[in-house]
């Protein structure tokens, strides 16, 4: 159950050299353990986690997850570990798969989510039971942080009061309330379906990204949405949480969800956080990020000092976003490698099939079908195959680039004037010479248009790569959404738009270089 289809080859491809080094390190360490056998058990544990191997800390894309992830990371760093942050990853499926596949070592999770969405249980058992079931998958559930961030339903205070709604059950009397819930909540059995059955609610919720739901609620675009009870925005925007008087929602205790191979020192470091946060203090921390406009790193660092976990002054950047340059480069790498791959596969494939209408149609159907897979779903599907990070993101983008490239290439090749092809054949050019000297040059203008379309689609879609930890300009966008911080969203969105315009201009320049002036007009024909 732990792994779906992870082959050694794929493992190697995403771990690369460090994977090989790790294996070598393990071998050496176990040799050492044999020699010094009396100390074996203590040594073995340390050996299982080579010193230079960073602990990968993940989190989902919501603000609280992001903040807890940053707190985990700093606590581990203070305990002397090297930490790699992969914060702001899509949804549960992505972080859980990441942990199960060994791409992540720890991320904040909630007991309710663990029981229902991950372990597929009907109720939320005791913590010991959750830990036991997790261990069967090579994972562990550590001590709860203290607070219960359960699901809740939230409305604008003025509207709730004027309609006389104070409990979730009261909503049943107002069937025309406009309800919008996060996609995950609508689908989960312990989410809307169960809630509606329990309270006899007849509203049909629309799906909405949680990051923009509060904005929509504040502007009266919607009347009710799902909320998390510790969110700082509830106070800030003067929303009310409706009473769950039937006790429908289970406990959602925040816990560090970790790789069972994590060294005991690291586990101990994380357990320092046990019981350190009650609902009020978590809500206050969340509010610090949203209202006081402090960076996650600043809030986390202050919290850790207040807790007395460390006395060290940490140098943290208060800048809203200080890695735009890195993001831009990552974005270009993602886009270009996917585009190159798609050209390398798409162009030869088109050449191979374009003269056979039946096969061409099949190829176009298949690539068209791939195109219709929603991007977040495609990214999620990539995780069991390719893990998280750059590789699955590039492959997903590659898949999306295929259709525009192949469609344009087949059309371009088919629309080359048949008379010219006949003359080329009749005069005695070989098949290869016909392609090289006649068909391809004549098809180039349309062909380039397809590649250009793919490039621009890629630049846009690559912003979603942040959900699976591939970085890029999607990172400030995802973080901005989780913070309701539109400036931050623009930090990612504007460079992405500029990049698309640059791509357009670069392609135009390239066309000027490779296509004689009078042939450029032929595209329009």
């Amino acid at each position: 159950m732990k792994t779906l289809m992870t082959t050694p080859v794929l493992q190697r491809s995403r771990r690369g050299l460090s994977g090989a080094l790790m294996v070598a390190g393990l071998a050496l360490a176990s040799l050492g353990a044999l020699v010094t056998s009396p100390l074996a058990s203590a040594e073995e544990k340390a050996a299982a986690w080579p010193e230079d191997k960073p602990i990968v800390v993940g989190s989902k894309a919501d603000r609280e997850g992001h903040l807890l992830g940053e707190i985990f990371a700093q606590v581990l760093e203070d305990a002397g570990f090297t930490v790699e942050r992969r914060l702001g990853l899509g949804q549960t499926i992505i972080t859980y798969q990441g942990l199960a596949e060994g791409e992540l070592d720890v991320y904040p999770e909630y007991t309710g989510t663990l029981a229902h969405a991950i372990l597929k249980l009907d109720d939320v058992p005791a913590l010991e039971k959750l830990d036991e079931l997790s261990r069967e998958q090579g994972l562990r559930v550590l001590e709860p942080l203290g607070f219960n961030n359960t699901y809740a339903v939230s409305m604008r205070r003025d509207q709730a009061e004027s309609l006389g709604i104070s409990t979730i059950g009261d909503m049943a009397d107002h069937p025309d309330l406009s309800v919008a819930m996060s996609h995950e909540f609508i689908k989960r059995p312990d989410g809307w379906p169960g809630l509606a059955a329990e309270y006899g609610l007849s509203q049909v919720p629309r799906g909405i990204e949680h990051g923009i739901a509060y904005q929509a609620l504040r502007e009266s675009k919607i009347d009710a949405t799902d909320a998390y009870s510790t969110e700082g925005d509830i106070k800030r925007f003067d929303f009310v949480l409706l009473d769950d008087d039937k006790g429908y929602f289970p406990e959602y205790l925040a816990v560090p969800f970790v790789n069972a191979a994590l060294p005991e020192d690291a586990v101990a470091a994380l357990n320092q956080l046990a019981g350190s946060l009650d609902e009020d203090s978590m809500q206050a921390l969340n509010a610090r990020v949203s209202t006081d406009e402090q960076s996650f790193a600043q809030v986390a660092s202050r919290f850790i000092q207040e807790q007395g976990i460390t006395t060290e002054q940490r140098e943290v950047s208060g800048a809203k976003w200080d890695k735009l340059g890195t993001n831009l480069i990552e974005h270009l790498q993602l886009t270009l490698s996917a585009l190159l791959l798609a050209c390398l596969v798409g162009l030869p494939l088109s050449l191979l099939v374009y003269r056979n209408p039946k096969v061409s149609r099949v190829v176009l159907y298949v690539t068209g079908l791939l195109q219709t897979i929603p991007s977040i779903a495609l990214l999620a599907l990539m995780i069991p195959l390719f893990g998280i990070g750059v590789v699955p993101a590039v492959i997903a983008l590659f898949v999306y680039s295929l259709l525009p490239i192949i469609r344009a290439a087949i059309t371009a090749l088919l629309t080359v004037d048949p008379l010219l092809v006949k003359v080329a054949r009749g005069m005695g050019l070989t098949r290869r010479e016909q392609l090289r000297h006649v068909i391809l040059p004549l098809a180039t203008p349309n062909l380039l248009t397809g590649i250009k379309t793919a490039a621009i689609i890629n630049i846009g879609t690559a912003t979603l790569a942040a959900f699976i930890g591939a970085g890029g300009l999607g990172e400030p966008i995802v973080t901005g959404l989780s913070l309701n911080d539109y400036d931050l969203v623009l930090y990612g969105a504007i460079p992405a738009a500029l990049l698309a315009i640059c791509a357009e201009l670069l392609f135009e320049l390239f066309e000027r270089l490779v296509i004689p002036a009078h042939m450029r007009g032929l595209k329009a024909r």
Binding site: L419, L420, K422, V423, A424, R425, G426, M427, G428, L429, T430, E433, H437, V438, P441, L442, P516, H518, M519, L522
Partner: protein, 246 residues
């Protein structure tokens, strides 16, 4: 292409149909070497099909096509086609290539030196009254008459012993056409070769050719010299084609 006495083209027992419709049912025909042969007849008679059977653009259902005594080798068409010049009505110059690259496309593939290409083009252009300054232009930058002559030069670049012309003089106005005829005849005097031309124009056939094949759908009505055709048409249908000319 070994036999020095064989006819330029010989069709024997030729059957060919399209989409279930039979066109040729057992045609036997010889086209003489070192002569200009004109295939004439109303549209749909199969004259253009016959021409494309020679360079393998169309394959017979049954029967055999021999060029200079050798059967067409369908496994190795490009090599054979380079010894058979081919020019068509719509000219078919490649728009992305300059005039020079159009004319020299085969010579470049054959690995001719730049000097040899230049010398050959100079000779062709001189025979065809073309200005060497056209070489750097693109097809859309020259006139229809020039394009037609460039197309002929391209077909004759490798000095093929056989030249196939599919309505190759018909895309231009009548005055230009007369000029191109004259240039073509001069070329034929300086570089005699076997030519097979398809035309729907009886006058063009009579004035240019040494040998005529008059066709009706699927059949050869008469194969003879232009003189014999005009003085002694084989039957009514040949006579009617002669009367139809303007």
């Amino acid at each position: 292409m070994s036999d020095d006495t064989a006819p330029a083209v010989r069709f024997s027992g030729l059957h060919k149909g399209f989409a279930g419709q039979r066109l040729f049912e057992g045609i036997d025909l010889e086209l003489p070497r070192d002569r200009i042969t004109a295939l004439v007849g109303a549209s749909g008679c199969g004259k253009s099909t016959l021409l494309q059977l020679i360079n393998g653009l169309i394959r017979p259902d049954e029967g055999e096509v021999k060029v200079f005594g050798a059967a067409v080798d369908y496994a190795n068409l490009p090599a054979m086609r380079r010894r058979i010049g081919y020019a068509v009505q719509q000219i078919g110059l490649f728009p992305h290539l300059s005039v020079r690259d159009n004319v020299a496309i085969l010579a470049d593939r054959e690995g001719w030196s730049a000097e040899r290409v230049k010398a050959r083009i100079a000779r062709l252009f001189q025979m065809m009254d073309l200005d060497m300054a056209l070489l750097t232009r693109y097809p859309h930058e020259i006139s229809g008459g020039q394009a037609q002559r460039v197309g002929l030069c391209r077909a004759m670049m490798l000095e093929p012993p056989l030249l196939l012309l599919d309505e190759a003089f018909s895309a231009v106005d009548p005055i230009t056409r007369i000029e191109v005829h004259a240039q073509f005849q001069r070329m034929q005097q300086e570089e005699p070769r076997s030519v097979v031309m398809v035309t729907h124009d009886m006058n063009e056939a009579l004035s240019l050719s040494d040998h005529m094949v008059v066709m009706a759908p699927g059949v050869v009505l008469q194969a003879a010299s232009p003189d014999t055709i005009t003085t002694a048409p084989a039957d009514e249908r040949v006579a009617r084609l002669l009367e139809a000319r303007a």
